[in-house]
């Protein structure tokens, strides 16, 4: 979309070291931290998967979708529908099914939406996602505004998700798998084509690429990966509601990807953790005098978002990059 916002695709050494340290921390956390915080971290990892799926669409392909949460929520609902009231379902077939459902929805919606460009794309993705939201909100049969419960966590013969630590490590493994897959994809012919579409779609078409098909494929894949995150969310919290599909959730995801830095998936992970941490921090603010600061978290979050967009539009990685470049010039 913009030539100014150059993307950091090759990760600098310092960042790789940081990520490795982060990974180490994540691996040992359940042994050193409390159960409650481990659950919070697990949720952040789920959101990191969600953010990475959006980064494929937004950071790599340049498609800004305000409706990505629809696929996240749909997969959560799929789990809720597939789980009977009295017993657990098997992870091994429900997870792929939920992802397939999310992917199929993305394929169908994408077919209509991907033919639009620029601001239209943003608006129609928002509109279709809200359509899905209202579909669930207005129909008691689908749970209505109250949502649905996932009565039992999915069962996986080899591990027991009722054990929070098992769930944590499974989620960590999924996050790493998705990251590795997407990094591979970034440098593949398919990934290079998507990047080309982001930078100059017109020239890509003139060179013979059927850009509509590539964008639709990216949209569908991103939807399926968002579904993976949604499934895990439903499994962890045991509850799904229409808010998971709303445009607020989509906008939060966009914020996560921007905050960390777009186009390399590492930024999406960092952004997800940072955003979620910030959100919890705002909600936890103390009451000073008669004013409950935490209650007004939306105000702080709104000011923060406006601040980031105004002063650091390329996110944390952009700030780090600018700082290290300034340091380079200084050292010369």
């Amino acid at each position: 979309m913009s030539a100014h916002r150059s993307h950091l695709e090759v990760l600098p050494r310092s960042l790789k070291v940081l990520l490795a340290a982060g990974l180490l921390l994540l691996v040992v956390f359940p042994f050193v931290g409390s159960d409650f915080y481990a659950q919070t971290i697990a949720r952040m990892m789920i959101l990191a998967i969600f953010a990475m799926s959006l980064d494929l669409l937004q950071g790599v392909t340049g498609l800004v979708s305000l409706g990505h949460a629809a696929f996240f929520g749909l997969a959560g609902y799929a789990l809720a529908f597939l789980t009977p009231a009295g017993e657990a379902v098997s992870l091994w077939w429900t997870l792929p099914t939920a992802m397939a459902a999310a992917g199929l929805a993305a394929l169908v919606i994408g077919f209509f939406v991907v033919r639009t460009h620029g601001i239209y794309f943003i608006m129609v993705t928002m509109a279709f996602a809200q359509m899905v939201f209202y579909l669930f909100f207005d129909n008691k049969v689908l749970g209505g505004s109250d949502g649905l419960y996932v009565n039992f966590k999915p069962a996986a013969v080899l591990f027991d998700f009722e054990d929070k630590r098992v769930f944590y490590y499974f989620t960590l493994a999924m996050m790493l798998l998705v990251y590795a897959f997407l990094r591979r994809l970034l440098w593949s012919p398919f990934g290079r084509t998507l990047a080309g579409i982001r930078v100059n779609e017109h020239r890509m078409r003139a060179m013979g690429f059927a850009t509509f098909r590539y964008k639709l494929a990216a949209f569908t894949l991103a939807g399926a990966l968002a579904g993976l995150a949604g499934y895990l969310w439903g499994a962890q919290t045991g509850f799904v509601n229409p808010e998971l599909m709303g445009f607020q959730m989509s906008a939060h995801a966009i914020m996560m990807v921007i905050l960390g830095g777009m186009g390399n998936f590492a930024g999406a992970i960092i952004g997800a953790f940072a955003f979620e941490y910030l959100l919890l921090w705002f909600k936890d603010l103390p009451t000073i005098g008669a004013v409950d600061l935490g209650k007004h978290w939306q105000l702080w979050m709104g000011l923060f978002i406006v601040g980031v967009v105004t002063f650091a539009p390329r996110g944390l990685l952009g700030v780090v990059e600018r700082w290290s470049r300034r340091k380079e010039l200084h050292d010369e």
């Binding site: 440098w187 593949s188 012919p189 080309g196 930078v199 020239r203 890509m204 003139a206 060179m207 850009t211």
Partner: protein
């Protein structure tokens, strides 16, 4: 053998009541350069866009080889063997020169949609890209970011990208735009190098280059062809002189 690789017949494009291109016919032969000249607003850009599929004609036909490609999308026409370069540089600024050309070459690769292999490890694509870069004289700057090279080098990159898809027909829109004398001379040499293997349509304002390169010359004014033939002949044509060349050019 003078194969006609592209034949546009009576192309017309109307915008509202205005005919930007009016009953224009153009033929392109293998190994020859067909130059199209005319004052600003003559319809040359519109003609180029019609041939490349960027705009659909109001009437008329376009034949690429034996195939009727009228109304085809730009990507379909490109795959059918047509390449073009742009007057306003239309490259991938944040990518390296190498990646710009490699991506162009990748469009023809059967593996273009593969998801997990590294894109830069496909020998055939790399070879096509290398060849295009050599032809365009860009081997020296292939690892530089396209946004940082000189204007002349960017124009060369434009050509390299259109060559990398191995087209039979080339539409070149003002390749010498904004170039100094030395750069322009290099570009003329480049075009002479690639001439034997392609059928080229050259839209240009630089008259020196036009007369050095053109085997056939067409003059457009106000959307219509007012003269078409061998350069010397067209130059001497009275209509052309009064309408265009006579305005104090060489």
């Amino acid at each position: 053998m003078n194969d006609v690789l592209l034949s546009a017949q009576r192309l017309t494009k109307r915008f509202g009541g205005l005919a930007a291109v009016n009953e224009v016919s153009v033929d392109l032969w293998r190994g020859r350069i067909h130059a199209v000249i005319g004052p600003n607003g003559a319809g040359k850009s519109t003609l180029t866009n019609l041939l490349s599929g960027d705009i659909a004609p109001t009437s008329g036909t376009i034949l690429l080889g034996e195939r009727d490609v009228t109304g085809w999308s730009p990507e379909r026409i490109s795959r059918a063997g047509l390449g073009r370069s742009y007057q306003k540089t239309n490259i991938f600024l944040p990518f390296t020169v190498w990646e710009n050309v490699r991506l162009a070459a990748q469009s023809r690769a059967p593996h273009a949609a593969r998801w997990l292999a590294r894109a830069d490890r496909f020998a055939a694509t790399n070879e096509h890209a290398s060849r295009a870069i050599e032809l365009a004289g860009l081997a020296g700057c292939k690892n530089r970011i396209a946004g940082t090279i000189s204007h002349g080098e960017q124009r060369q990159l434009e050509i390299a990208m259109s060559l990398a898809t191995a087209p039979q027909v080339l539409l070149l829109d003002e390749p010498l735009a904004g170039m100094g004398t030395a750069e322009a001379e290099r570009m003329v040499q480049l075009l002479l190098r690639i001439k034997p293997d392609h059928a080229i349509m050259l839209v240009e304002h630089d008259m020196d280059a036009v007369f050095a390169l053109a085997d056939h010359l067409t003059v457009m004014v106000n959307g219509q062809v007012i003269a078409s033939g061998a350069p010397a002949q067209v130059r001497a044509d009275a209509n052309v002189q009064s309408a265009y060349l006579g305005e104090g050019v060489q």
